[in-house]
């Protein structure tokens, strides 16, 4: 990967981090408000993000990316157990912690050290999944 692309990926991340904080999508309170159906804010964000992403994918699909490879979306495997069970477990954690992985990183940057502990828990969970993977139904 050329240096300039590394910088570019970093900067796209900066855009994401700033947006997550300024929109308060990184806020524990906003996540609780979302799950308690108290405001449209989070739903509006997710829905409008999907629309923009959808248009972007439509425009770019089949074209060549700046780094070279052709732009294409790989289909996800249609084995449903993992999405149902894994999705439910993720959702539980999302509500309990009041954050998902992106906002967690932004909040560590914003100076909330407890999110480092949350992040450590995520690494632990990922590791245990890696250990149990072959034994789990997918």
């Amino acid at each position: 990967m050329r240096f300039i692309f590394g910088v570019a990926y970093f900067l796209v991340g900066v855009l994401g981090g700033v947006t997550l904080v300024q929109s308060q999508a990184a806020s524990w309170y906003r996540i609780q408000e979302m799950f308690q159906f108290g405001a449209f804010h989070m739903y509006g964000m997710i829905l409008s993000a999907i629309v923009v992403a959808m248009i972007g994918i439509r425009l770019l699909q089949g074209k060549r990316s700046l780094e070279g490879p052709e732009i294409r979306i790989n289909d996800k495997a249609r084995t449903w157990t993992r999405y149902i069970v894994g999705g439910t477990i993720f959702g539980l954690g999302w509500a309990l912690a009041g954050a998902c992985p992106g906002p967690t990183l932004a909040l560590i940057g914003a100076g909330w050290p407890a999110y480092l502990v949350l992040f450590a828990g995520m690494i632990l969970g990922t590791w245990v999944y890696g250990l149990l993977r072959d034994a789990l139904p997918h």
């Binding site: 300024q22 700046l66 999405y83 914003a110």
Partner: protein
């Protein structure tokens, strides 16, 4: 426009809440930006796997691959940290103004009015003096990490990218994110927070 005026404008923008119709499209823009740069998929939780793959010792087969080939995503994650620093540390904004019913409910669990982006009793440095907060954080993190890999993605990969790419598996995953989320938010979190704060729940 004078330079001084511009600095003031930046401060104003950075201390205000960005409405959903600005912040949502900005987040969505990340998907085509990453595709356009190098056909990369927006998926933040994949980085948790890459961090595990960095472990030099014995590790499960799931983590035996060249994580350096995914360096772009780790750089993206570092960008998220830096963005959070820029926005949250340099320009601390107004406290979160919540829906009144939600606020009353949260306060009944023993939390105070929002003083910052997140509850001080759960996430400030001082909160880490309580072992209960460690249990809370590690439990939440564990479920997120385990669930995201088992389910093949998190909010960025499934809810935004996957649905935008018409992936039915992602839609199913997001529906169950909400099944788990509603169970957690309504039946587990009230008691859990009250247990930490010593409040009613």
């Amino acid at each position: 426009m004078s330079a001084k005026r511009e600095v003031k404008d930046v401060q104003e923008i950075m201390t205000q809440l960005w409405p959903w119709y600005v912040s949502g499209p900005l987040l969505g823009l990340i998907v085509p930006l990453l595709l356009w740069l190098g056909n990369k998929d927006f998926g933040i939780s994949a980085n948790l796997r890459h961090v595990c793959a960095m472990w030099p010792g014995k590790k499960p087969a799931f983590f035996q691959y060249d994580w350096k080939s995914q360096a772009w995503n780790l750089l993206f994650a570092l960008g998220l940290l830096a963005g959070g620093f820029l926005a949250g540390y340099l320009y601390p904004g107004d406290p979160v103004s919540l829906n009144g019913t939600v606020l009353e409910r949260i306060k009944s669990w023993g939390l105070d009015d929002p003083q910052a982006l997140v509850p001080v009793k759960l996430f400030a440095l001082g909160a880490l003096a309580s072992w209960k907060v460690w249990v809370y954080l590690l439990l939440g993190g564990f479920l997120i990490g385990f669930g995201a890999r088992y389910g093949g993605g998190c909010t960025s990969g499934h809810a935004i990218t996957g649905i935008a790419a018409w992936q039915l598996p992602s839609l199913v995953a997001v529906v169950f994110f909400f099944v788990g989320g509603l169970i957690g938010a309504w039946w587990i979190l009230p008691g859990l927070v009250a247990w930490i704060t010593g409040g009613a729940g």
